[in-house]
């Protein structure tokens, strides 16, 4: 579904990503692991078109997308849940969900999907008219995920959805990711929490200083060995 070949990304003269290859198959959940500054979020931003690569190619369902605008990429079927529970803070929950469906023109379908989101996240139904910026961290993450799903993405990219959440909420988000996966949505996940990243993934990539260091399945090593690889460069 998603194929990245020879990707290089620069911020000014600093090279954040070096000659990176990555594949995500249809229906798979792929976790990207790495220490802070290893380039995980940069990869997600590049896939979603917000950051342009210096060189390399990104193909989505056979179409090259690395030179496309972000709005075109969303319309092609790549949705995203950005890092840090990014919401439109002054908009209500309902308006945030509608913004998630910005690329869609089927009003009836959007209304149905909003209902489905409220069924999936019942706590949000009573908060539909509340400003998103006033919700708790967990509820904000739910809105962010729901908004990402409103575009009916074929590939959902999620950037640290469990960051800063309480253990109970982390479990809740993990269960949501599993549900989305079961519905057949392909997921590219960046997550610091190794336990969750391995728990939901079919394939794992480990990044170090912008270069791919390891590619494999979650069962290839124990969780401790993964932690060592990711954070201790073991």
């Amino acid at each position: 579904m998603l194929s990245i070949r020879g990707l290089a990304v620069h911020y000014g003269i600093f090279q954040a990503i070096h000659d990176l290859d990555l594949d995500v198959e249809d229906g798979q959940t792929v976790s990207l692991l790495g220490a802070n500054g290893s380039g995980k979020s940069t990869i997600l931003k590049t896939v979603s078109g917000i950051k342009k690569p210096t060189s390399g190619e990104i193909h989505f369902q056979g179409t090259r997308i690395d030179d496309e605008k972000p709005e075109t990429i969303v319309r092609m079927g790549i949705g995203s849940v950005m890092e840090g529970r990014r919401l439109f803070p002054y908009m209500t929950v309902m308006e945030n969900l509608r913004m998630g469906a910005f690329s869609r023109s089927d009003r009836a379908g959007v209304a149905d999907d909003i209902e489905r989101m409220f069924d999936r996240f019942p706590v949000l139904r009573g908060k539909a008219g509340d400003r998103a910026g006033l919700l708790s961290g967990g509820q904000q993450e739910m809105v962010a995920v729901a908004r990402g799903l409103m575009a009916r993405p074929k590939l959902l990219i999620m950037d640290e959805p469990c960051q800063g959440l309480s253990p109970i909420m982390v479990k809740e988000i993990e269960s949501i990711i599993r549900d989305i996966k079961e519905e057949g949505v392909t997921i590219l996940l960046v997550e610091h929490n190794v336990s969750i990243a391995l728990g939901v993934a079919d394939k794992v990539y480990i990044l170090q200083n912008g270069a791919m260091r390891y590619e494999g399945r979650p069962g290839d090593f124990s969780e401790d060995e993964f932690v060592q690889k990711v954070y201790l460069a073991g």
Partner: protein, 341 residues
């Protein structure tokens, strides 16, 4: 949630009632107030208000233009040329003047609106100056150069036999024309505010990168806002030119552009009424101190700094701020009385 909804509803009703009362006041003003100086000044206030509410739309995308005066000039010169030299009716020249400014804005905006706001500020400033200097030094036989662009005709007479004759020979006719155009502009801006376009433009201010992530064509929205702001400026320029029968490039310097920005900052950009309030405050103080002239920009600058420090949301946000303060006090008093019990 309920409390907030109710109080917001009450707040909205109060705002609308205030707007209706103010509108009624200005609608009836010439019936009982005939001082020409103030009517003339109010025409200028209404014209500047049109420019300011247009600029507010661009402000809401997170960008600010310091070249607005140049686009007023484009509208003024274009409409003036059409009506004076080509004999086209003012009523057609008016929107065409706006369109000329909007087309130029699109041509400038497409390559520049993707830049960071600081670069856009510099480019808009340079654009405004290039426009002004072009009218000063290029095509002098057409634009008049230092002599200015003279003898711009007034609008065609409006006649409803036996009922109405408006020939724009009196200030009161201009007063109602400018008030009407301001109301139309405010109505258009309100429609935009409450539409999906307005919501998206608001989102663009809060989180531009998030807008991109959900598939908003951010460039298209910025270009739309810039073109609309410049269209308003162009229409205002067309009225300004016809009202004064004369245009001179020195009326469209960076100082005028900065003053336009000051209206938005002083009045506040959260509502359409904010920038209009800003114009009234700056022009009102300048009017009440006759002869302030060149010092008006110093006054606007000083007010702008004070408002940015003490009321960042602008003067239109002041009642909301007072309301929040009163609510907090009430809660505090209630908690203190409970502790006392």
């Amino acid at each position: 949630m309920t409390d907030r909804t109710v109080s917001t509803g009450l707040w909205d009703r109060l705002t609308w009632w205030s707007v209706a009362l103010v509108f009624l006041f200005f609608l009836t003003l010439p019936l009982w107030f005939h001082e020409e100086y103030y009517l003339h000044a109010l025409v200028n206030v209404f014209i500047h208000s049109m420019v300011a509410i247009g600029l507010r739309l661009l402000w809401r995308t997170g960008l600010v233009s310091f070249g607005t005066a140049g686009f007023i000039a484009i509208g003024g010169y274009a409409a003036g040329l059409l009506s004076r030299d080509l004999g086209i009716s003012f009523w057609l020249s008016l929107p065409l003047g706006g369109c000329a400014a909007a087309v130029f804005a699109v041509a400038i905006g497409i390559p520049t609106l993707r830049l960071k706001s600081s670069y856009f500020f510099l480019i808009s400033w340079a654009t405004g100056e290039i426009i002004r200097l072009s009218f000063l030094y290029l095509f002098i036989p057409v634009f008049g150069g230092w002599q200015g662009f003279r003898k711009i005709p007034p609008p065609d007479t409006i006649i409803i036999p036996g009922i109405l004759l408006i020939d724009f020979s009196q200030k009161v006719h201009w007063y109602y024309l400018a008030l009407f155009l301001l109301c139309v502009s405010a109505f258009i801006m309100l429609r935009i505010d409450y539409s999906r376009i307005g919501t998206t433009i608001g989102a663009l201010f809060d989180a531009p990168d998030l807008c991109e992530a959900v598939g908003v064509p951010t460039m298209a929205y910025r270009v739309f806002a810039f073109a609309t702001a410049c269209f308003m400026a162009g229409v205002a320029g067309a009225v300004y030119g016809s009202f004064n029968t004369f245009l001179h490039p020195e009326s469209f310097t960076i100082i005028q552009s900065i003053e336009t920005v000051s209206y938005v900052i002083i009045g506040g950009a959260s509502t359409v009424w904010g920038p209009i309030l800003g114009v009234f405050v700056v022009k009102g103080i300048a009017m009440s101190v006759r002869g302030i002239g060149a010092y008006e920009i110093i006054l606007a600058g000083a007010l702008m700094i004070l408002v940015m420090i003490f009321i960042p949301e602008g003067l239109s946000g002041l009642p909301r701020r007072i309301r929040r303060y009163v609510t907090r006090r009430r809660v505090k008093e209630s908690m203190e009385s409970q502790h006392g019990d």
